[in-house]
């Protein structure tokens, strides 16, 4: 509706200008995405549990990367403490499971619980910006971990095995875990897409372009940021819940545990490599991450070193990441969240953008 309105209001003086969200390739990419999702859901029937196991890890990182992209790429919130919500999500699957609630349903608790915890934590860091925000979230993650390690009934500092799934066949369990991870990832990406196309997306774009101007125009900057922070916490929480199911245990701590900053490193690097501020970027970045991780997995920590080096290089020399480079070259968008202004005479079939010329 908005598209037509926007187009018609301009058509009085600018006859040949149209404004649309989507272009023809959006239809193709939408159908393509649906087919891809169906194919991905059918995966456990065709490939072995080893492959689906690896895919689960990739889907966890994909969910996390989409959330971090929403935070840093759209709301300007560079959080280095997302492992707090990731870990909380794992515990919000564990705790109901210890009371007899199936972990699959626990994923809902993970998302809601992490989001609920995000509200008071947001209140603590809401005033801070950029670098200060980054370290403060890191401190909060440490505080959350220290508090959870005090509670001995959920495993204290050593962790706790996840009950409730012991009766399942390993192969069946892997398939179910994969479907859960895929569902979480699809919901996360779809949620980000819908959020950015909504009024919130417009608000975030206004803040990103000029925060002061947005604020003085009556945009509720703080509210929008809080919304994004809570939404990202929910997504990271659900991903943490998937990890708890995948590992069949929850281990706190920073060395290899759910509160390790390496989780945030992985999500941030995937976003930077793929292209920050685009929905497609985290997907591409996660694929790069998975390839690197699989190639270098026999060299222990080397994949994180290489990933960090690649992320630094891309942040310095190709700021818009791999997807940004693709967009610049071919001008395609699989998830259109902005608007496209059709230049007079521009054809729907044209792929490359003409050099900009002023409308009459």
């Amino acid at each position: 509706m908005t598209e037509k309105l926007a187009a018609s209001s301009r058509s009085a003086d600018l006859t040949d200008v149209r404004v649309t969200r989507s272009r023809s390739n959006t239809l193709y990419s939408g159908v393509g995405a649906l087919v891809l999702i169906v194919v991905l859901f059918a995966f456990p029937y065709y490939v072995g549990p080893g492959t689906t196991g690896i895919m689960v890890q990739g889907l966890i990182v994909l969910t996390l990367a989409s959330m971090w992209n929403l935070l840093a790429g759209y709301a300007g919130l560079v959080s280095v403490g997302q492992q707090a919500f990731f870990g909380l999500g794992a515990y919000f699957v564990l705790i109901p499971a210890m009371h007899g609630i199936t972990p699959w349903f626990g994923l809902v608790f993970a998302a809601i619980g992490a989001a609920a915890c995000a509200v008071p934590l947001w209140w603590l860091v809401a005033r801070l910006r950029l670098g200060y925000f980054a370290i403060a979230t890191w401190v909060l993650a440490s505080v959350v971990m220290l508090v959870i390690e005090q509670i001995s009934s959920i495993g204290g500092g050593t962790g706790e095995p996840l009950p409730g799934l012991s009766g399942m066949q390993p192969a069946v369990l892997t398939a179910y875990t994969y479907w859960a991870a895929l569902t979480v990832a699809v919901l996360a990406i779809g949620g980000v897409y819908l959020l950015l196309r909504s009024k919130v997306g417009l608000t975030l774009t206004a803040i990103r372009d000029d925060e002061r101007a947005a604020r003085s125009s009556g945009v509720r900057v703080g509210l929008a940021r809080m919304g994004v922070f809570i939404a990202a916490a929910a997504g990271c929480g659900a991903a943490g819940g998937v990890l708890a199911i995948e590992q069949l245990q929850v281990v706190p701590g920073t060395a290899g545990g759910v509160f390790s900053v390496q989780w945030t490193a992985e999500m941030a690097f995937a976003v930077i490599i793929g292209g920050i501020g685009t929905i497609e970027g985290p997907i591409l970045g996660t694929i790069v991450y998975m390839v690197l991780q699989q190639e270098l997995q026999s060299y222990n920590a080397w994949y994180l070193i290489v990933l960090g080096a690649v992320a630094i290089t891309i942040a310095l020399f190709a700021r818009r990441g791999l997807w940004g480079t693709v967009v610049d070259r071919f001008n395609i968008r699989l998830f259109p969240v902005g608007y496209h202004l059709w230049a007079p005479g521009e054809s729907r079939r044209r792929k490359r953008r003409e050099p900009a010329h002023v409308a009459p």
């Binding site: 950029l130 370290i135 220290l146 900053v261 630094i312 942040a315």
Partner: protein
Amino acid sequence: MAWVNAIIQGILIGGLYALFACGLSLMFGVMKVVNLAHGDLAVMAGYIGVGVIAVTHVPVLWSIPIVVILMAVIGYILQRSIIQGAISRGELTTLIVTFGLSIIIENALQQFFTANSRGIGVGESFITASFSIGSQIVIPWLYVVIFVLAVVVLLGLQQYLSRSRYGRLIRAVADDQEAAQLSGANYRHVFGIAAAIAFGTVAVAGMFEGMITTISPTLGTDTILLFAFASVVIGGLGSLWGTLLGGVILGVAQAVGAQINPSWEQLAGYAVFLLVLVIRPQGLVGQGATS
């Protein structure tokens, strides 16, 4: 009396926290860089110290200036290359680059030195030597020496920034980069010098950490960076004495927390940090932590 003992130890360890914090504070004050790799640099300096002592067999005290010079050179080079490149591309890039450095350093240390913790030996007799006031209060000499050295470094830094030619240049560039540039100051070089100083102080702190306890690759992100940041926030930005106060308050809070329950040590410190963040975000001394 155990309480007095805890508080005195907290004050003394606070000097070390302030030493960790002053480099972080300096880099933010001068270049507006929040260096997320700060803690890992301290750990890296500690490991360099271990290596220098093992290879050259110099006494521990003499290894400190060697490590400081090495780290200062590394700091200058890093600042002139990738950190400067990141600064000119915006704050998000700066955060990504320093975060990337942090993860790279931590995992590289883990790769080369394993995850085991190491200490910098200062001689068995010196570590255990202590003096007592009355019958209950026992203070290790090592803590006193490190506190005094930390205060000396902070004092020296304060004097350097306010008196010396380069110190004035650094403050001029921090105040108004463009005006300083127009007056003929090469701000990139000045940034490099500031980074070299920051890396030098963090090297001293990293070495001391290795002497008081032990260092391990994950220590930088687990505690050092967070303690340094908490000290800066508690004390307030822009004042080295505020940073010392912040470090001491953090140290005392941790010591008192540990006295109540050994596992509350870090939590008590962070509780004070969060309290200051909520009640007095500009810090106890200083101008402001918000935007």
